[in-house]
Structure formats: C-alpha cells, structure tokens
Amino acid sequence: MGLLRGCGGGSGSRTPVRGSLTKLAYYSTVQHKVARVRSFDHSGKDIDNEPLYEISVQEEITARLHFIKFENTYIETCLDFIKDHLVNTETKVIKATGGGAYKFKDLIEKKLGLKVDKEDVMTCLIKGCNFVLRNIPHEVFAYQKDSDTEFRFQTNHPNIFPYLLVNIGSGVSIVKVESEDKFEWIGGSSIGGGTFWGLGALLTKTKKFDELLQLASKGQHTNVDMLVKDVYGGAYQTLGLSGNLIASSFGKSTTADKEFSKEDMAKSLLHMISNDIGQLACLHAKLHNLDKIYFGGFFIRGHPVTMRTITYSINFFSKGEVQALFLRHEGYLGAIGAFLKGAEQDNPNQYSWGENYAGSSGLMSTSPDVSPLQRTRSGTFDMLEMDRLERPLVNLPLLKDPSTYIPDTVDLTDDAMARKYWLTCFEEALDGVAKRAAASQPDSVDAQERAEKFRQKYWNKLQTLRQQPFAYGTLTVRSLLDTREHCLNEFSFPDPYSKVKQKENGIALKCFQSVIESLDSLDWEERQFALVKGLLAGNVFDWGAKAVSDVLESEPQFGFEEAKSKLQGKGRSLLEGPPHKCALIFADNSGIDIILGVFPFVRELLSRGTEVILACNSGPALNDVTYSESLIVTERIAAMDPVIHSALRDEKLLLVQTGSSSPCLDLSRLDQGLAVLVRERQTDLVVIEGMGRAIHTNYYAVLRCESLKLAVIKNSWLADRLGGKIFSVIFKYEVPCK
C-alpha cells in the first residue's frame, strides 16, 4: 500500500455527535500475484516433450480504492492506521468533508503532518453519488415492503442524469443533479433525522438513534395519531376515503391525562417525519419534472424501517409516478467525493472501477459483535474496495437496449429455491476448489495455509449471502463465481488452473491437424454439422462444472470422442445463408474447447470470407482461456494452418480481450478496444459459448444482430430447470426482427 490520496471525514450527522462515523477513502497500489504466460522459443527443440509455453507468477501493481468507516471515537486509531500505511510522502494534503472535518482538523494535521483541505459536503456527496451510479453494478435498489426480496436492484442506466438527491441528515437537503458538475440545491426541510432523534429522545427518553428506530418498529401509531376514521367515524368508506390515513399526527395526544407508550410515540414520529419528507420530495420532483429520487443520509443508511416508510410516502404522494431509490454505498458518498476531489489530477473518471467482492463487506452485513477497535485493526470492519481497471469498460455496441439489458438469467435474490441450490452447490464445491488452489502451487510453502484462508473467507461470504442475499446487489451465479475469483486472488492464487490449461492446450494442439483433416474430408452439409457438434463437444470440458470435474478427476482419459457421444442435443447450421461480414466470438475454455471446437469453426467462417474477432478474458477465471494464452495458441495454430496464418497476417482474424476476469459475461462492461473493433468491422454475428456466458448470463440478452448462444448443460439441476437432461445442448440462434 502506498499512496494515500484523500480522506473523507464525513460524519453521520453534520455535527460530530457520539456514535457518528468517519468514513475514510484512500487510494493504494496493491501488489498482487498474476500469472503470466510466455511462449518458448521452440526452434530446434523437441516440441513434443516440452510444455507449450512458460507459466510464471509475477508481482503486479494495481490501483485500488478503499473505503472504510469507523466510529468517531476511534479517530486516533484510524489516524494511526493511515500513518502506518502512508508510505509515500509526496502526499501533502488530505481532503476532508463533513462536520468532522472541522472538529478533527487539528488532530489530523498534527498526527499525520498533512494539511487538511476541507471540501464542501454537498459537492463531495454528489461527486460520490455520480461515481457509484456509474461504476458499481446494482448500486441502486428500490425497497419493497411485504416481499420476499425486500431489495429490488436496478439495472445501471447508461445515462444517470438528471436525478434528485434527497439527503436526510439532521435536516433534509434536496438537490437536483443535472450533470457531472451541475447541481443545484432546490430545497430542504428542517424536519429530518435530527428531528426524529431529538424529538424522539425527548418523548421517549431513549437516547440512541438505533434504539428509537427499534422502538418505532414495535409501536402502533394509531394510538397517537388521529386517523381519518377517527374524524369521520365509520362513514369514511362511503366517501371513498381511506380510513387509515393520518388526519393529524399526534392528534390523539392532545390531552394531559393520558399516558402513551414509547413505542407508539416513536412510531407516530417516524411516520410523521417520513411522510413529510416524502411529500416535499414529491413536490420538488413534480416541479422539476423528475422521476428518480435517491435517498441518503443517516436517517436512511441501512435502516429497513425508514426505507419502508419513505418508500410508502413517495408511492402515496406521487401516486406511484415517482420511485424512491436507495444506494448500497450511500454511506460512503461523501468520502468517495472528497477522495475524487483530491485525486482530480489523476482523473479517476477516465478509468473503470470494479467492486472487489472479497474486500467489501456487503449491505447491512456489519457484525455488531465486533468492536470498532477490532474492526479497524482486523480489517473486517465495514469496507468497500474497488479495483481500478486499466481500461475503460463500455457497452457492447450491438446491445438492443443497454438500459434494459440484464446480464444474469436467474435472480437468486428473487428465487429462493434456486438460491438454496446454488449456495449449497458452491459450498460443496469449495473444498475441491481450495484443494486445487493449493495443488496449483506445489512449490509454495504456505499454499496450504492460504488455500485454507481462502476456503474460510469464501465460506463466510456464502454464509453472509444465505442470511442476506442482497448484500452485494442482486445475487446471481455470476456474482457467486466472481466472488470466488476475487477471494482466490486475495490469497494469491491468481490462476489455479494455469498448469491444467497449459497441459490441455498442449494436448489439444497435437490433435488440431487431424481434426481439421477429418473435417475437410466431409461434404459441406456434414461438415457444418460436425463443426457445430465440435463446438458443443469441446465445451463439455469445463472444470467449473461439478459434474464434469467429477468425471475429469476420476477418469483422466475422458476424451473428446466420448464427450461427443454423450451429446444428446442437435446441431443446426446457421452457415447456410450469405456469409457474415464479421463475427464476434466470446470463447470459453482452454484446451479442447478453444483449439478443437472454436478454431475449426473460426477457420470455416474465415474461409467463407467472414472476418472474426475472437474475444477472450483479460484475466484468468477457472480454466477459461485468457487473452494472453489465446495469443500463443493462435500463433501455434497459425504455424500449422495456412488459413489461420493468412487471416492473422491480413487482420481478418483479430484477437481481443474482453476486459473481464469472470467466468461469466457482462455485455455492458466490455473493453473499449473490443467495442471500437466491433463497430469498425461492422460485426453482424455474435457467438457466445459456454454455460457461464450463454446460460448463467446472456441467455435472454437481445442483440441488434444475429446471435448464436450455445452451451452444454453440465449441471443436472439446471438441466431439470430448463426441462432437459444433463449434457443436453443449448443452441439458441436468434435473428433480430426487422
């Protein structure tokens, strides 16, 4: 960890009251291990007995954004923490915002020897808000009462503006945000979180905000409030009024001789304040013609009770026309904004950022039994980490409607049955994954120990997700897989399958020419069938699927022919029509899949005059072929095959990286280079291969051009769900309607 850029000293309320939180954002460079492949110089060597390429593990330095929070009481501990990590002394200034910025200025300056630059609270808040809206998938959610899935996550809309931000701190600020730099305070209210807290403390003698909310959740406001039916008697129904509407908040407490329960008063107060804020927010939204309102501030922060009442109020006052939206990382907005202010010379907005699931604690997954001191020291306190991705990520230009595109096929937050199945599935596979990780580094003395730590960490994540499926946004098979990759990386297992991939690529390459020869001997019709069959057959080799890895582990001789014979599906040709201009292929596994399945198919396309963009992952995930591996493999195939050779030379075959290190595929976050190429070459066919990319994700993706999604279902539960059998085939050829 090196360079510290910013510090957001934002507190829950603007004044540093006890129990307020300080949020700290810092920028660090993280050294971590990456697997590299490098082609050997094979000239004059016995290539049959040499591995295909060299694998090395190197240290790489990448940038990471960290956001942590802790109670103000522990400010000194926090400053020690910063000091420990403040290696690079180029940093002279620390950015701070919020009431605490004033209170702790001297302490921070003295302890760290840095100058504190105070930044405007609202500017920071909005900067932070724009940042998370743009960079974190599933950042936004709506709260649903009386639903199994309380949190309904929203698809990131490509255009985030304009929106209304209602910040409910001690008071309420209503800000209209029109662009990155343009925002305006359009109103506010003094009835906010401070009113709930202050008035609540007076009425109930309960001192803590959280306890007040707890009281409120147990109370009956109807004992304190005057309802419409109290005024109208039983006749309200005939008038079309809802008798349960509150006519006058606290209207029943207009007497000195009756006692009211703390719970009832707290509940009435909560309703009064939530309704009032919701009403004002709606009035402002109406005046400015806005339909998206994001709510933040300590009144909202992770409290289902207030999210529920605010959502109710917005629905009521807007008659359903405006949606109350909340943010997963709402509590960090000020700190993120202060950080971004400080890092302006680095222009963090030019990069893409990815949430690191391993280093982030999820929504409401704070563990109250860990003392804040422990949290700061152990690293298990509330935190968010975001990895800087070296290149910007953008939408696939061929997406029909980027604003409604959802990568994932099954929402496990919604589907309790599916959730149980997959969580169990990942739990059961975990020992095997940990074992494989340890085995992948036989020369490392601490590999066992790290593998165990990985196992424990991922296990804990799975348990958190059992309790709080919404912790990291919508729970999907993709997020489960990605979390596992992030955890493996955290414990320095950058590529557990590197040796397996190396071996399989070597073996498959040796078969390449005979496969091509046998394909070339077929007539056109038969060849097309065989090519598609080959694509599917090759895809059976997937170490990610439990059923397959069981077979592979127990029967190392499990071969291509046998896999082919296990196929029960049908192949269909899409190669009958006129040739396509350019095909984009998202590859899946290393070895047989890419070399004997995908490449013969690529070769056929090239022979027909179709250009091919072959997209592989930027970083490793399971046994998926990486971009750098694909370069070596292609080079070796080109040496054997004149079609591939000339296509490479003439740039008819282009290798690109996806920008992803996931076994799944998010078409809304792809490497910019890929997107540029897709546009330039007028791509008119997209082929997506494999379970992770074509079934778990993108099964329902709609493109503006022809697409082929194909995979072999290597999971019996999923096969059941889709109405097929294990090892049956998904072959989804879609032509957009004109």
Binding site: S170, G194, T195, G198, A201, V231, G233, F250, S253
Partner: protein, 367 residues
C-alpha cells in the same frame, strides 16, 4: 313547508377533529307579529345563545368576530360565532334534545368529518336528521361570502408588512375583490390545501397530517400543558433556537454554497440529540420550537404547492391561527423570503369559521 326558507333558527355546523364550529344567525328584524308567533323553544334558544358568551364549561362565543347588521336571505340580523371541543359533542346533542330542538322542524346543516361520525347520535339522541354538506364546498363558500360582506365595515382579509420586524410589523387590509386563482390552506387538526380557480372550480391539491393537532399534541406530551391557549402562551415565552439546530450552528454562518442564511433552521429539534442540551431547555422553549417547526413546514408545503399550481396568493385559514400571531407572521415572512417576494401570505379574520358559515349558506341555498 313553502316558508321553509324563513324557518328559524338558522345554524351552520362544522364538526372537525378537535373543534366544533357553530354559526348562528340572530334575526334582528323580528316583527311584533313574528315575536308573538315565535314558539317558546325557539325564543329560548335565541335568548340562551345571544345573552351568553360561554356555554357549559367549554363552549365559547367569539364576540369579537360577531358580524352585525347583516342581510341574509332578506333578513337582517347578527351572525354569531361559537366553538366547543368535539369531545363535548354528546353533551351538545343532549342539550339540543333537552331544548326540544327537533320540534322546531328546522334542518340542521353540518359539515366536517363529524357530520358523518355523529350523524347516528343526532338521530337517536336528538331526534334530528342532519343535512350533511361537503367540507371543501362549505369552506370555499364561507370564505367567499364573508370576504364579500366584510367585517363590520372593515376588510376581512389582511396581510403583514415587515412580518419579522416587531417594530415595523403592520397588519394591513388586503382587497380580495378578484380572488382567483388562490391557494387556500386550511389549518385545523390537519391541513388541507386547495387551489381555487373560481366559485365552483377548485381542487384539493394535497394535505398534511402535520397541523394544529400535531402542535397541540406534541406540546401536551412535551410540556404537560392541557389547552391550546396554554400551549401558545408557553410558546410566546420560549426560545426555539435553543432547541433547533440552525444553519449557523453547523456552518458557523451562512451556507453560501446553497444560499442558506445562518438563521435558518437546519434541523428542527436538532439540538435535542444532545443530552446536555435536552437538560438545559425549558418547556417554553420546547413549545416555541414545536410551533415554529409545524408552522415552517406548512409554509414550505404551501409554497411548493403554489409553485406547482402557479398561484401566487396563498390564503391561510383554520383555527390553528386563532390568537396565533407568531405563526401568522412566520408564515408571512417565510413565504415572502423563500419565494423572493413572489408569494403573498393572506389571512382572514374569521380564521376557522368558514366551514360553518358555508354550512349555514347551504341551509339557505337548499331552501
């Protein structure tokens, strides 16, 4: 039956959540002949109402609001304004029964939620059939009528000039001759906001449950007071800035980035998050803060509605404003300040009685 229009007594009743408002037209042009014919019951009701200013322990006649020498439906007389708490409604019905009100064969027109709630009680206890009238119709009708007849030669409608300057603050008459469009904010136990475009064209824009009932209810809980008057009296001696957190408490002065003045309240009751400050405030301070909080909030919502409806005159009525100069001045100031002079707060002398007046007019219309 033909002469139903002239059948006395003429009452209008508005039964709200907290208060019952009763207007009574006392004919002053009674001829000797009429006097002779006047049944004993009717006479006794007239005498009882006009010769007292208080009824039972809670009924009060607002003598200062009496409208004299009014001509209504061809009859000359005085209009009396009487109020009592809604929880005494059963006693009122009982009294009506004892005075054999039902023998007078008059219609009793009533509006407000209580017209529905107490309909059955009137029937069974008082042998009386209520004529229920729409609350908002009555309110608007009452406002327009009273404003048109004026207040004994003075203007019914008024506004405040320099509302926050104790020395220079002046209550001045306002001519509401061309009243439309106007935003009518009725502050009773709760608040209703209406946009009125003409005599018969209006809509209810919104409402809020934070009204007079909230002020009084919270004051009872916070200070142990037992009457609205007591709550207001306390409020007039308190200092809300001890209770509320102001912009300057947070930013040391104005918050220039947003153009917020230092004196603006940033968080109502915000100082009460601190234990020390909770222990140092008086009941009077709390009452004042409650009053300021509720009033400012009504002002805010009214202002937003005025902007959304594109109306710049806002008329505040309702019994919350009775003897409540603090709130009226604050509303006047807040509307002016936050709208940069675009909006004007107007007030009416007969504050909470317009619904009842409307009900009385409804009685005469129906004839």
């Amino acid at each position: 039956a033909e002469k139903r229009d002239s059948v006395f007594p003429w009452f209008g009743l508005d039964i709200g959540g907290t208060l019952v408002k009763l207007v009574y037209f006392e004919p002053k042009d009674i001829t000797a002949e009429e006097e002779e014919e006047e049944v004993e019951n009717l006479k006794s009701i007239r005498k009882y109402l006009t010769s007292n200013v208080a009824y039972g322990s809670t009924g009060i006649r607002d003598v200062h609001l009496e409208l004299r020498d009014l001509t209504l439906c061809g009859r000359k007389g005085n209009l009396h304004f009487i109020r009592f708490p809604t929880h005494d409604m059963p006693a009122f019905i009982q009294m009506g029964s004892e005075k054999h009100f039902s023998s007078l064969h008059t219609t009793l027109c009533a509006t407000g939620g209580g017209a529905y709630k107490f309909e059955q009680d009137f029937r069974t206890m008082g042998d009386l059939e209520l004529c229920k009238l729409d609350e908002l119709d009555c309110l608007i009708k009452g406002v327009l009528y009273i404003d048109s007849v004026g207040f004994n030669g003075h203007s019914e409608c008024y506004y405040f000039e320099n509302p926050t300057d104790a020395e220079r603050c002046q209550k001045l008459p306002f001519n509401l001759e061309n009243p439309y469009p106007l935003l009518l904010v009725n502050i009773g136990s709760g608040v209703s906001i209406l946009a009125v475009y003409s005599k018969d064209n209006y809509k209810r824009v919104t409402g809020t449950s934070l009204g007079g009932g909230t002020f009084f209810g919270l004051c009872c809980l916070l200070t142990g007071c037992s009457t609205f008057e007591e709550a207001l009296e306390m409020a007039s001696h308190g200092d809300s800035t001890k209770v509320d957190k102001l912009v300057r408490d947070i930013y040391g002065g104005d918050y220039e980035r947003f153009g917020l003045p230092g004196w603006a309240v940033a968080s109502s009751f915000g100082n009460m998050m601190s234990k020390e400050k909770r222990e140092s405030v008086s009941k009077e301070d709390l009452a004042r803060a409650t009053l300021i909080t509720i009033t400012n909030n009504i002002g805010s919502i009214a202002r937003m509605c005025a902007l959304n409806e594109n109306i710049n005159r806002v008329v505040f009525v309702g019994n919350f404003l009775r003897i409540n100069t603090i709130s009226m001045r604050l509303l006047a100031y807040a509307l002016d300040y936050w709208s940069k002079g675009q909006l004007k707060a107007l007030f009416l002398e007969h504050e909470g009685y317009f619904g009842a007046v409307g009900a009385l007019l409804g009685l005469l219309d129906s004839a």
